[in-house]
């Protein structure tokens, strides 16, 4: 469960994160850890408007993380065969890309 690069998760470009899992399955550990990292106080303090919604289901479905960005893009992470650090890496890389894009757009204006 190593933190990738920065210790906190920056959620500035994120509108909504929906974490959906079935706790009685055996492949949900990484998704739950991802939820903890993303739902922590530090992460929430970076963007108060971002909603982190955990959904607990019981239909033997695979764990899925649905992330909606401010500019309408969606990122779907299927956590059944991923580790939490991989999910965090992918998420953070996209977040930093979006941040850079937003900053470039703001600088142009």
């Amino acid at each position: 469960m190593a933190a990738s690069g920065k210790a906190t998760v920056v959620l500035k470009a994120v509108k909504k994160i929906t974490v959906q899992f079935c706790p009685f399955e055996s492949n949900v550990r990484s998704t739950r850890e991802f939820l903890v990292m993303v739902g922590s106080e530090k992460a929430r303090s970076t963007n108060i408007n971002c909603e982190v919604i955990p959904l607990v289901k019981h239909d033997k479905s695979a764990p899925v993380v649905d992330i909606t960005y401010l500019d309408g893009d969606k990122l779907v992470l299927k956590g059944a065969n991923l580790t939490s650090s991989e999910m965090l890496n992918a998420f953070q890389s996209l977040c930093t890309d979006k941040d850079l894009q937003a900053k470039a757009a703001a600088a142009k204006k």
Binding site: P23, F24, V28, V36, V38, E41, V56, H58
Partner: protein, 252 residues
């Protein structure tokens, strides 16, 4: 050999040659491991000694038992506590908290304490080793990550759910109410159920509806009853006639 060469080429005595060919061949016995020629290496690899398998007599070594890690005294105390908790409480709910502050926890604890629900923290390892062979073994996969146990002797689900909804960080994973394992959605539907007495009353009323109906009919004037019976007979005959006609239409 060098001396004879010198004799031939150097007639004058005591004359050293200008160039002295010195041959220092590489020694075969060295202080370090000499790198073998590749062919010799291959030969050595092919002709390695393979000893015959050593037969151990059956009673020579003791049976290799599995390494059972003994529980530390603290773990034993916690297991005893867990056992009493599981026996006393009718409702045990497992909730995951994503790093809520101490303030939120205090508020939540206060709210739950009003309804007699205790908040318990146990290390996951202890809980999983405790649940392994017991009755509630199927709860074991719930205890991953930061989990909190809500324990109470009476199943007050509505109040618990309202308190959980107020705090953003807590996620209900599952509950064990009256020795039945319930998922999160099952808990919600359980909270919407009416109380036991209401359900029993509904059941009794449903069963006795027919008998009460007949009792009320008999209590009325018998002329009323005879009129009803005549009407019923007429309806039966007319229904029988009308049923026969649609059936004939379907067959045709």
């Amino acid at each position: 050999m060098a001396a004879t060469l010198c004799v031939k080429l150097l007639p004058k005595q005591g004359w050293l040659p200008l160039t002295q060919t010195v041959r220092h061949g590489s020694k075969s016995v060295t202080r370090h491991r000499r790198p073998m020629h590749i062919l010799k290496q291959k030969l050595m690899a092919v002709t390695e000694y393979i000893p015959p398998p050593r037969v151990i007599p059956p009673g020579a070594y003791p049976y290799q038992r599995k390494r059972v890690q003994e529980d530390s005294p603290l773990t034993l105390i916690m297991k005893r506590h867990l056992k009493t908790v599981f026996e006393d409480s009718k409702m045990i709910a497992v909730v995951q908290n994503n790093a809520s502050n101490a303030d939120n926890m205090m508020v939540l604890k206060h709210r739950l304490h009003k309804h007699g629900i205790a908040v318990k923290f146990f290390p996951n390892q202890v809980v999983q080793s405790f649940l392994e062979g017991g009755l509630h073994a199927n709860m074991a996969p719930l205890f991953i990550g930061p989990t909190v146990l809500f324990v109470s002797s009476e199943p007050k689900v509505k109040e618990m759910l309202s308190a959980l909804r107020a705090s953003q960080q807590m996620t209900l994973l599952g509950a064990c109410i009256d020795d039945t394992l319930l998922s999160a959605q099952a808990v919600v539907s359980y909270s919407k159920l009416p109380s036991v007495s209401v359900v029993q009353g509904e059941l009794v009323s449903g069963l006795t509806m027919l008998t009460s109906h007949t009792a009320s009919m008999l209590q009325r004037h018998p002329a009323h009853l005879s009129a009803l019976l005549q009407q019923y007979v007429k309806q039966r005959s007319s229904d029988g006639g009308s049923e026969g006609a649609p059936k004939a239409e379907e067959a045709a």
